[in-house]
Each structure stands twice: as structure tokens, then as C-alpha cells.
Amino acid sequence: MSTAIVEQPNEVFAGTAGPLVKVDHLTCVFDVSRPWLERTLAGAPKQMLTAVADLSFEIARRETFALVGESGSGKSTVARMVVGLLSPTAGQVTIDGVSMSDPRLAAAREKLRRRIQMIFQDPFASLNPRWRVDRIVAEPIRAFGITRNDAEVEARVSELLKLVRLDPADGRKYPHEFSGGQRQRIAIARALSANPEFIVCDEPTSALDVSVQAQILNLMRDLQDRLGLTYLFISHNLAVVRHMATRIGVMYLGRLVEVAPARDIFAHPRHPYTRMLLDAVPDLAMAGRQRKPVDGETPNPIAPPPGCPFHPRCPFAAERCRTERPHAIVTGSVSVACHAVEEGRI
């Protein structure tokens, strides 16, 4: 009986047409100035950091859309805006037709909250160390009023622990008694407990050893199949992203430079930055390979280069790239923001 509660796929929404998640011109600017008095005394100007700039993408139901990019490219900031932990400076996120920022839709948004969950890189920081595991996992069940009957909550927690391949008896223990991989299972069980349909995963396996990572990635795929989940999957690791995603967005300095189906992007990377990233990843198949790494490092996001932000490192940069920002050009299922691609030069 309790199995039915947990394993009921999200049929209700699966039939609805259109993407589950729509991100439109999402922008986030942080004020990183020194304190006002200090700044005034030093005569320093305000400093703004554009962490996410004009980002648009959609996520279809039951797909895994991945955001990949180097550290500081804005991935976590996008994640926080998508789940509503951070308000965008401009642009908006719409989930199942409900805008996450329209004040008139507060009631609809409240209902939506149960359907959206998040998993973080550090499972320890996200689990209350003073709570037993069963209380941690049960918390969303109670918070969203899914059931208040203690016996039902207990049955459901034990089903959830089994679902993530833990022992229901583990519910009596505290987080510190578990290894990193087991803690991430606990975090997944908690995320699933309110029967969500959309899960934002921010570097969910980046702190884990590879053999444990394999267990978690396999588990996440199984759960997606069984429960009809939609994932926004964030990682700096291209191989992990390739393994998990149906579509991939590549970020550089807060912008999406390329969005394409996973298969396409690895077979035919179009944007020069995507090409560089793919070439830089050390890969098992590459023992003894010789290659020429790209020069330079990601510039300071407070003063990004004008024009195309990648131009100082780009082997295809032309005059236009130094002054004019490239816009995303969509061809079929692929979207690329690059003058050289648009001009057919590469």
C-alpha cells in the first residue's frame, strides 16, 4: 500500500502540453561593492557582478536538462533562482505555467512548491545533524501536509529509505553515522518524500568518490524512470553530464553559449568554448594523447570583456567579436551564440 504512495508517477502533469520549466531572459546581478562608508571615503565606484545574464531555456517533462561550465560561470545562481531561493534581477522562471515571480500568483506558487525539490553538492550541510534520519526524511511530508497520520508517515519514510537502497532501520540513526554516499541517498529520499516532479540537482556527486558517484547516478536514473521525474542537473564534470543529460546548456561567464541535445554536443560541439572544454577534459580513452591546451583563464566577472566574453581566449575571434555581443541563433534543436558560427566561418 505504502509503495503505491511513493511510486505513483506524476501522471497528473505528464499529460499537460508544453515544457515543464521555462526560463526567460533570466538575469542576476550582485552588488559586490565594499561597504558604503568605506567606498565613499575611498571614492570608489559601486561594483556590480553579473552572475547570470539573459539566460533562456526550456525543460521538457521527464527530461534531464544539464547546465555545465567551469566554476563561477553562474550555474548555482541559476539553480537558486529556478527553485525560488533567489529573486532574479530581471527575467523570469515559469514552472507548469506559473510564474515564480508574479506577485498575483502567490497561491498557485505555494502549491507548486511541493512539486519542486533541490539536491545539493554537500549532503552533510543540507541535513540537520541533530535530527534522526527518519525525521529528516519525514519533514517535507509533514510540512506539505501530505499526511499527518504517524503510522502512514512512518510507512512512507521506510518505503523511501528502501527506494534509495538504504535500510529502513537506518532511520533511527543520525547523519554523521553515514558515509558521504549514504548521506546523499538520505538527501535524495528527503527530496522525494513530498512526491515532487521536478528536482534541481546542483553538483550532486561532485564531493563523492567515483565508485560512490556511480551508485548515485544509477540511482538517480532509476528514480527518474520509475517516478517520471524531470531534472535540472548541474555539474562542472562533462563526462557526468554526458552520462545523465538529454539536453545540455554550456555556460561561460553567466551566459549560455550553446544548447544542444547531449548526443549532438559531444559529437559536434559548435561553440569555440564548448570545443575547448571538450578538448580539455582528461579522459580514460586518451592515455598518451598529445594536445594543445587553450591559453588563459576565465576573466574577472566584475569586468567581463566587451563583445563576446570569450574573445580574449578564442582562436576564431575576429574584429566583430571584440565589440558586438553574439546572440543565440537557433537551428533545429541547437542554439549557439557565436559570430563565427553564424557567419559560417567554423
Binding site: 558517484q213 562542472h236 563526462a239 580539455a280 580514460l284 598518451g288 591546451p293
Partner: protein, 327 residues
């Protein structure tokens, strides 16, 4: 074969604790040839860093070498007095750590730190040492080295700092560099630059590298041979292509299958059940036996030594002579 540059024999590192003695490195043996890159790979807690620290006498007490030998060009260095070891560190063995600020003092200009190290080990005068420092910075790819030599570490990016640390490690023309997770904190594009740099330096300066990392991709790109560690022991050691492409130890096989790659097409990753044991409960016999799909009686009672398995050596009873005969 030429005489090994570095030779580790049955190295054992222990920690006395209230609950008894923990053995974190247990009977590890390997050689590094002059100019060779030996990768040491394994999951966290496998004993990689402690092995590196033991070689250069940098174990934090109460950790101590409880057995075995470390030989540099045939000469034992594990039993040297602290003063003798300090002379070898920096001079004959350079070091690079994950965090460049372990090696760089944030309060001093990088030039001062390089010049001090060069003078300590070479007896050059200040002007000569400064010239050599600039040459080293140029060599590791610091742009405008003549000007940047007077900058402080905080004025460099993470990747540039790691280049400075490599210059520092090379300052006295060492024969060996022990690099512990040197690229782990870096983004992939910068990591690729540091890997390329290390390979070039290894070639041009004929320096051997013991490259410790948890990242098999980095090993694949960089190492000639690789030792896979598990629970303080070597599970398998051999040429990098063989260990990656034709692993023989069941743990290595599982590990390789669990790594997502840019080319594999498998829907599911190989899963090794469970996780590496804590030091307090290492199983008897083969340390991998509770997780091993091929475990048999002998594995639970007798610890396997490194046995030849095609071109690698694997610590696994599947490759014992009597078994191979029947297999």
C-alpha cells in the same frame, strides 16, 4: 632495467589511537625510474597522501613509519635524522600540493621565496638567484616574469599560483617531484594547462614525478605507470594503458567501469557494492573481499601479494599460479 630512482619496500604507516593502532599504509612497494611519471590513484582515504608524506618525512605525528624502507638511488632515506631529510626535501625531491598556499607564504613576494630556495640549495649569489628565478618563471609559463616576480601570491590566479609552485619545486633541479592532487582544485581548462606543463617539465628537466590523484583521467593523460591503492595497499600496478584498458584486479575493473567517460555508451555505470572499509575494520585476507564478485575461500583468510597478471601486477588470488593453471 636501470637502477630505480626511488624504491619503496613494504612501507607501513601507523597511527596510535586510543582504540589501538591504525595501519593506514600497509606493505606498499613500488619503484620509480629516473624521468618516469608514476601515477598513484585511489578513492579518498586509500592512503595516497600518507604514502607521499612518508617518503619525504612529512608525516604529521602521531603518524609514523612503522616498517619498510624508502631508498633514493639505493640510499635509505627513511632513517635519516630530521636534518638530513630536510636537505633532501627541496634539493633532491620537490613537492607540489593541491593548495598552492601550502607551499607559498602569502606575506612574501614570490621572487623572495624563489630566490631564498635557490640560494639555500645552490649557493648562488643574490643576483644569480634572481636571474634563475626569472628563468624558472618563464619556463613555467608566467607572462611578464620580470615584472611579476615582485608580486605577492594573492595577485595570481589559482592556475598561475600552481605554476609558481612548480617553479619552486624545480628551483634546485630535483630528481623527483611528489605532486599530491596538483590539479584537483583547478577548472578543467586550467588543469589541462598544468598537466601539459608538468609533462613538458618532466621531459626537459628529466625529473621523475610521483603524481597522486583521485582522478583517473589525469593519470591517463600524464602517467607512464600507475599504482591503484585500496585500503592502504596497492591493488594493482602496471603500465597506464594496461591498468586502464585491461585491468585484472576486480577492484580496478569495477573502478574503471564506474567512471563516466566522453566516449562510453553504456546506459548504466558499473556499480561496486558498498564502500571502502574504515581503517578500524579492514577485513582479514584480501581487503576487498566483502565487495568482490569473485571472492572465494582463500580471499577471506590469506592476504594476496602482488602477482603477475599479463602486463600488470595484481594483488588478487585469481592470479595465483595454482588457480591460473586450472582457469
Amino acid at each position: 632495467m636501470t637502477e630505480p630512482l626511488l624504491s619503496i619496500r613494504e612501507l607501513r604507516v601507523e597511527f596510535p589511537t586510543r582504540r589501538g593502532i591504525l595501519t593506514a599504509v600497509d606493505g606498499v612497494s613500488f619503484d620509480i625510474a629516473p624521468g618516469e611519471v608514476l601515477g598513484v590513484v585511489g578513492e579518498s582515504g586509500a592512503g595516497k597522501s600518507l604514502t607521499g608524506a612518508a617518503i619525504i618525512g612529512l608525516l604529521d605525528p602521531p603518524g609514523r613509519i612503522a616498517g619498510g624502507e624508502v631508498l633514493l638511488k639505493g640510499q635509505r632515506i627513511d632513517n635519516l635524522p630530521p636534518e638530513g631529510l630536510r636537505r633532501i626535501r627541496g634539493k633532491r625531491i620537490g613537492m607540489v600540493f593541491q593548495d598552492p598556499l601550502t607551499s607559498l607564504n602569502p606575506l612574501f613576494r614570490i621572487g623572495e621565496q624563489l630566490i631564498e630556495t635557490i640560494q639555500l640549495h645552490t649557493g648562488m649569489n643574490a643576483a644569480q638567484a634572481r636571474d634563475r628565478a626569472i628563468a624558472l618563471l618563464v619556463d613555467v609559463g608566467i607572462p611578464a616574469a620580470e615584472r611579476r616576480i615582485d608580486a605577492y601570491p594573492y595577485q595570481f590566479s589559482g592556475g598561475m599560483r600552481q605554476r609558481v609552485v612548480l617553479a619552486l619545486a624545480l628551483a634546485a633541479d630535483p630528481e623527483l617531484i611528489i605532486a599530491d592532487e596538483p590539479t584537483t582544485a583547478l577548472d578543467v581548462s586550467v588543469q589541462a594547462q598544468i598537466i601539459a606543463l608538468m609533462k613538458r617539465l618532466c621531459r626537459e628537466h628529466n625529473v621523475a614525478i610521483m603524481l597522486i590523484t583521485h582522478d583517473m583521467g589525469v593519470i591517463a593523460e600524464t602517467a607512464d605507470r600507475v599504482a591503484v591503492m585500496y585500503a592502504g595497499r596497492i591493488a594493482e600496478i602496471g603500465p597506464v594503458r594496461d591498468v586502464i584498458g585491461r585491468a585484472h584486479h576486480p577492484y580496478t575493473q569495477g573502478l574503471m567501469g564506474s567512471i563516466p567517460t566522453l566516449t562510453a555508451t553504456a546506459e548504466r555505470l558499473t556499480q561496486i557494492p558498498g564502500s571502502m572499509p574504515r581503517l578500524t575494520d579492514i577485513p582479514t585476507g584480501c581487503a576487498f573481499n566483502p565487495r568482490c564478485p569473485h571472492v572465494f575461500d582463500r580471499c577471506r583468510v590469506e592476504r594476496p601479494e602482488l602477482l603477475p597478471a599479463e602486463r600488470t601486477l595484481a594483488a588478487c588470488w585469481l592470479y595465483a599460479a595454482d588457480r591460473r593453471a586450472t582457469a
